[in-house]
Assembly symmetry: C2
Homo-oligomer: 226 residues x 2
Amino acid sequence: MEQYQNPLFTIDNVLFTVAQAELKVLLVKRAIEPFIDQWSLPGGFVDPLLDASVEACARRKLQEKTGVAPSYLEQLKVFSGHQRDPRGFAVTLAFYALMGEQAAQSHIDTVHDAQWLPVHQLQDYPLAFDHQTIIAEAVARLKQKALYSLVPVYCLPAQFTVTELMTVIEAIIERPIQRKSLMRRIEASDMFIAVDEKVSTGKRPAQLYQLKPDADIYLFERNLAE
Amino acid sequence: MEQYQNPLFTIDNVLFTVAQAELKVLLVKRAIEPFIDQWSLPGGFVDPLLDASVEACARRKLQEKTGVAPSYLEQLKVFSGHQRDPRGFAVTLAFYALMGEQAAQSHIDTVHDAQWLPVHQLQDYPLAFDHQTIIAEAVARLKQKALYSLVPVYCLPAQFTVTELMTVIEAIIERPIQRKSLMRRIEASDMFIAVDEKVSTGKRPAQLYQLKPDADIYLFERNLAE
DNA sequence: GGAATAGTGTCTCTTAGACAATATGGA
DNA sequence: TCCATATTGTCTAAGAGACACTATTCC
C-alpha cells in the first residue's frame, strides 16, 4: 500500500523567444528512443542529487541546451496518461520560459540538435510524445498573460525600446496594439527605468528601458481589449 | 543515465467550500508516519492501474474522503524539494477544488478523520509537510480567480441565489462587493439560467439560478476593483 | 524641407463602484 | 402599512482604443 509502481516523472520546457517578429520555441532532436530523431521539448529526468527542486531541474536542462539561464521561468502544468509515452503511464511537468534570442544564439549555433522553430509552422513537424499539445497550451497561457502583464519583455535583451516591446507583444497576441496603451502600461507598471538614448535604424532615436533590479511583475486590472 | 532514482511523486488536494460565510478547507488526520495524527491535505500516491491521469487520481482521492466528486477541480502547481518530506526528495502535484458544503456533509459526518477547517484559523494547527504553504498558494489563486471569473459559484449547491453567490465571493476575496456589479456579471457571463422562485428567510423571495448544462467559465476582461 | 520613426494630447467607450429608487412578500 | 430583503436605474471614475498632432533625426 505504501508504494505503488512509481510512474515515470519528467520535466519539459517550452522555451520561447521572439525573432523576426515571430514567436519561436526551442526544440531539440531526440537522440534516443522512443521518438528518436524527432523534434521534442528540451527536458528529462529529475536528478535529486543535482536538483534542489523541479524548477532547478528545468533551469539545468535549459542551461545544457542554451548555455544560459532563461529570463523567465514558470510552471505550466502537468501532463499525464497512459497514451502519451509508449513505455506506459507517464507524468511530465511542463514549464514555459522566455529569453532574448541573442543570449542563446552563439551556443545554439554550435550544435545541430537544437533549433528555434516558429510556433505557427509546427503543424508541419511530427513532434515527440504530446509535445504539440504542450506547446499549444503554453502558447495559450503566454497569450493570456500578455493581455494583463508585461511578461513579454522577458523575450527581449536587458535593454530594449518601446517599439521592440510592442513587436514582441504583437507577435504573441497576434494582433496590433496601440503604442499609446503600451506606454501607459510601462509607466503604470513602474517596472522599468529609462537609460540613455539609441539610434535604431536611422530616424528619431528611441528611449531605451531596462527592468528595475527589484521589479515585480505588475498585473493590470484590465486586459488589453479587442 | 536513462533512469535515476525516481523521486516520490504524490497528489494533494486543497478542497474548498464556503460555509457560515467563511472559506473552509477539507483536512484529514494522517493515519501513518510521517506526521502521523496531524492534519493534512487529502491525497496520496498515483495508482497507474486505477488512474487514467493525475486529474483522475485527484478525483479518486477526493471521492474517498467526501463520497462525491467536486464541482470544480484544477491543477494548482507542483511543490518539490529535499526539505518538505523527511523521507527525502519529494514531488507533489497540488490541485485545488471547490464544492458545496451540503454535498459532502453526510459522508464527512460519518468519519472523524476528515473535517472542514476555516482557512483563517489554520495558523493554529501544525499541518503535515508544507501543506500550510500549499493552502496559502491555493487561497491566493482562488482569490485572484474570483476577481475575473465566477468560479466561486462552484462552492454552492446546484441552485443558488444572487445573495448566496455574493456571500461566497465576499468570503473568498475578503471584502464586500456591489450586488449590482455581481448581477451585471451574472448576466454578461451567460453561464446561468433562472429557475423558479424561492423564499429565503422571509421578505422578498430571491431568484434562483443554476449553471447552464454546457456552460464554460466566462473570463471577464476586468477585475473587480478595490 | 521631406520622410520616417518616436512620443503626446485628448476624445470616446466600456464596465466597475456608489448609491438612490423601486419591487415584493411577511408580519 | 411597515420592514427587510431583492432588484433596477443612473451617475461617476478609470483605463483601453482611436487617432490626430508634435518631436527628432537623417537625407
